[in-house]
């Protein structure tokens, strides 16, 4: 588990902090650390990781998601709370019958196109996605994401490699993931954030 900062109070008084990385020191081995994991105990409109540690070189999100929209949904990813038209998306995918490319500029979020199963799909079916963000702290680079994702509904589904661009050189300190059309991710949806040291 990553450590963002050690707070004296949490050690001397035993008072638990709101952020897991504020609570205790953990010996880290290797270069791939779990920073935080959010698992929904009930439906929720978004999952947000804030105060992301600056001690890593790359980030990875591992996502298991299902939305409550009938038929399925896209997911929206935003950085540092930016909702401006500063995002670009490209998709290369297939649905078992036809390949599909897709591109979108001047968007308000990075998205996973038609990737998340919804209320009309098989119960217990979740989307799986692994999204990489290389060099997320570099203030001389715009941020490029790469996500391989998909699901299979035993008769429907898709597989996609998606690219996202956030036209900002700011270091990424927060990541928000939300359904695009539906109102919520459902119970048991999960996103794990990992840091990769450089």
């Amino acid at each position: 588990m990553g450590i963002r900062s050690l707070k004296t109070a949490s050690i001397s008084t035993g008072v638990k902090r709101s952020k897991v990385w504020d609570q205790s020191a953990v010996v880290l081995l290797g270069s791939f650390d779990s920073i935080a994991t959010a698992t929904l105990s009930s439906s929720q409109s978004a999952i947000t990781f804030s105060s992301i540690p600056s001690t890593y070189k790359h980030l990875q999100l591992r996502m298991l998601l299902r939305a409550d929209r009938s038929g399925g949904d896209d997911i929206m990813i935003k950085f540092n709370g930016d909702s401006g038209a500063n995002y670009v998306n490209h998709v290369m995918g297939g649905d078992g019958a036809s390949p599909f490319p897709y591109g979108q500029t001047g968007n308000n979020f990075i998205y996973a196109y038609q990737g998340v199963p919804g209320a009309g799909t098989t119960s217990g079916l979740f989307y799986g996605g692994i999204l990489d963000i290389l060099d997320y702290q570099n203030t001389n680079k715009n941020k490029v994401t790469r996500n391989i994702q998909g699901y299979d509904n035993n008769g429907g589904g898709n597989i996609e490699l998606t690219s996202g661009l956030w036209q900002s050189t700011a270091a990424i300190s927060s990541i928000s993931v939300a359904p695009r059309y539906g109102t919520n991710f459902v119970q048991y949806s999960q996103i794990a954030l990992y840091g990769i040291k450089g």
Partner: protein
């Protein structure tokens, strides 16, 4: 978390004169892992929106041991291509010198069983999304017909003559236990 994913070597281009990047120069990649992962964030000086990336192993520059297959998309169309029996296989995606300022491509290479005696294989996922419709992403599969373990990796732009300042390369080892 178990010590199964560990940084082996990194390199950041200090100025725009670096053409070839050698990871494990001299054959120094440790043989103590199961797989290798190489994350690169690169931009070349090619006068275009993107560039391809040539990847060789073990300093092999002659012969015809390399081959690859790619699928790619530029936002409006898809394509696929292949190379066979070459010595400069291109795989992955870098930003080009004409793309938006501060744009770098992001590519990850995965080398399973790199110490074994079977032919070496690798898959890649690369993105260099530009603001407009550009060759934005590639999936690739690469092979090298050699029984030798991978002890070094050489990367250079296919068309450009150097990597832009700030391009970086991170090699990690993964253990299966």
């Amino acid at each position: 978390m178990a010590n199964t994913y560990k940084l082996i070597q990194s390199f950041t281009v200090p100025n725009s004169t670096t053409y070839t990047v050698d990871i494990g120069s001299g054959g120094t990649i440790p043989q103590t892992y199961t797989d290798l992962i190489l994350h690169i964030n690169t931009r070349s000086n090619r006068a275009a929106l993107n560039d391809d990336i040539v990847l060789r192993i073990n300093g092999v520059t002659t012969g015809t041991i390399y081959g690859n297959r790619r699928a790619y998309v530029n936002g409006t169309g898809t394509g696929t291509d292949a190379q066979a029996g070459v010595n400069s296989p291109y795989i992955g995606t870098a930003g080009g010198g004409s793309t938006t300022a501060n744009m770098f491509g992001a590519t990850t290479y995965y080398f399973p069983s790199y110490t074994g005696s079977l032919n070496k294989i690798m898959n890649s996922k690369g993105s260099s999304t530009d603001i407009g419709a550009d060759l934005s992403q590639t999936m690739g599969y690469w092979t090298a017909a050699t029984s030798s373990p991978i002890t070094s990796i050489t990367i250079f732009p296919q068309n450009g003559t150097y990597w832009a300042q700030g391009s970086n390369f991170y090699l990690y080892g993964i253990k299966n236990s």
